[in-house]
């Protein structure tokens, strides 16, 4: 008699995987990136040390900031904890809570997280934090049409908009995985992830120049445990986006097909391996293309939008 996980346990394990391993993936990426630039770079586990250090420091709140400033990072962290319940991290069959929200639902929760951080930044009087939050909101809106069209594509292919079914549709046969609509949607989502994790087109994720920051700029005023939550949260958001990219679109293989303990546990190293692969790819891309000027960001968005629209058109035209 094989030992099995209860569905609730697998679901908890999904969240736990994301929470514990997100800093590792983030640390790996910055390490690799430093190597590409000829630096020795931080240790892979540096992000954990940073978070630990920040938790032992005191929290400073700007003078005129209210409770929103404190609540923002906490709400965001909660949002990023919620999303792994909805997406296929370890199992290829929908877990009970997976029906709580579809791709749009997950997207809304992620946006809520981003929004609460932006709100917390707007609460301060600091110009750079406000600049960051206004930029993040503006450009977040520009990438939204592409995300919508990707969702439509998933909906037309599977008849639902649950991420589990898109992954299952791609796994069904080689022909289904090579469907142009699927490939286009995967590439469009790839571009969306590139943009949302602050790689290309304009951001320097680990820079110290405030003018080069979009998402990171929002956190300039936070300190101590709140800043730790923000850093942890942003690494989790990155890993969540990787999960969707890998396990829904690009490579939905290697997930556990049953509730047996062995396959479910085995799915963790496989998933992390895939995530590190994607991270490596992103680091290579980030280092081999020059950043765009800020207002050229629309060109990048237009490319993602083009792919997403073509995906849906090919589907409507027939076959696809």
């Amino acid at each position: 008699m094989a030992v099995e996980f209860a569905p609730a346990e697998s679901q908890a394990l999904q969240v736990l995987t994301i929470v514990t391993l997100a800093p590792f993936v983030a640390g790996f990426i910055s390490h690799v990136e430093a190597r590409f630039q000829g630096r020795r770079g931080p240790r892979i586990l540096q992000v954990y040390y940073d978070i630990g250090k920040l938790f032992s420091k005191e929290t400073l709140v700007p003078e005129r900031a209210g409770w929103v400033f404190v609540a923002g990072p906490v709400v965001a962290f909660g949002c990023y904890l919620l999303v792994p319940l909805l997406i296929p991290v370890l199992t290829d069959y929908p877990l009970p809570l997976g029906y709580m929200g579809d791709i749009l639902g997950g997207g809304f929760i992620l946006s809520l997280g981003g929004f609460s951080v932006a709100l917390a930044a707007a609460e301060t009087d600091a110009p750079y934090a406000q600049l960051g939050s206004s930029r993040a909101m503006t450009f977040g809106g520009l990438i939204e049409p592409s995300i919508l069209f990707i969702t439509f594509t998933v909906a037309v292919i599977t008849g639902t908009d649950l991420p589990y079914f898109e992954a299952a549709a791609a796994r069904a046969s080689a022909a289904a995985a090579l469907r142009p609509a699927h490939i286009l949607a995967a590439f469009a989502f790839f571009l969306v992830v590139l943009n949302d994790t602050g790689r290309i087109p304009v951001e320097a994720p680990s820079g110290t120049i405030e003018f080069g920051m979009l998402d990171e700029g929002r956190t300039l005023e936070h300190s101590g445990p709140l800043f730790a939550l923000l850093r942890w949260g942003s690494s989790m958001k990155q890993l969540v986006l990787y999960v969707i990219l890998i396990n829904v679109f690009a490579a939905p293989w290697g997930l556990a097909g049953s509730e047996r303990v062995g396959p479910v546990l085995l799915a963790i190293p496989i998933f992390i391996g895939k995530a590190l692969g994607v991270g490596l790819l992103f680091a290579v891309i980030d280092n081999s293309f020059s950043k765009l000027r800020l207002f050229k960001i629309t060109e990048f968005m237009a490319a993602a939008f083009l792919l997403a629209v073509l995906a849906i058109l090919v589907l409507i035209l027939g076959g696809g």
């Binding site: 022909a175 629309t298 060109e299 237009a302 490319a303 083009l306 090919v314 027939g318």
Partner: protein, 223 residues
Amino acid sequence: MSGTVPISVFNDGAEVLTLLVLLTEFAMLRAPLSRSQVRLYAFQSLVVTALAALVAVNHGLNDLYVIAGLTFVLKVVLVPGIILRLLREAGVELAGSHRLGVATMVLLAIVVSIFGFFTVGSMPFHSSSLPTSALALAVAEILVAFLIVVLRSDVVSQAVGFFSLENGVSVASLVVASGLPLVVETAFLFDLVVAVVVFGVLMRVHHRRTDTLSTLVLNRLKG
């Protein structure tokens, strides 16, 4: 809608290749340098060659092998080589001859290709050699090629736009009449050679008279 057409790896492959042709056309529309445009054209021709070879293998059409070979020699090697050489001789590098912003151009091109998609998609048409959507994609590609000619204001872009338009026509002819007699297909390719010669002469004359490749100077009166 989806589900009515059987999904097969051949159809997928063919459709991905046609999509690549369309996407390269979009890339040409936004490419800032003439040189990169010409390289994109060479890549697009390579994809067309691959598509022709794929259809030839799948349907056992021997004529198509010859066409694919001719396409490769002419469109991937010769034509881009000639244009690149002309560019080198001219010694002017035009960067950014866009008449509109890149994002606007891409959105406009999306609208135009949607128009192409739906006009062709509503035709009751079934091809035996390629999925029907390939025809719609080819027509969209032709329309975007028109946009390149309209929206880019330098001679090289306009020539490349015209040549890539011919690529779209090739794809369309693969869908509609892949069994076309070899003589007719060769005549089409010969047309392309004539166009290259004409455009080459045009580029040279234009460059000698105006010292630039831009067409924006053409509305000035000459004394």
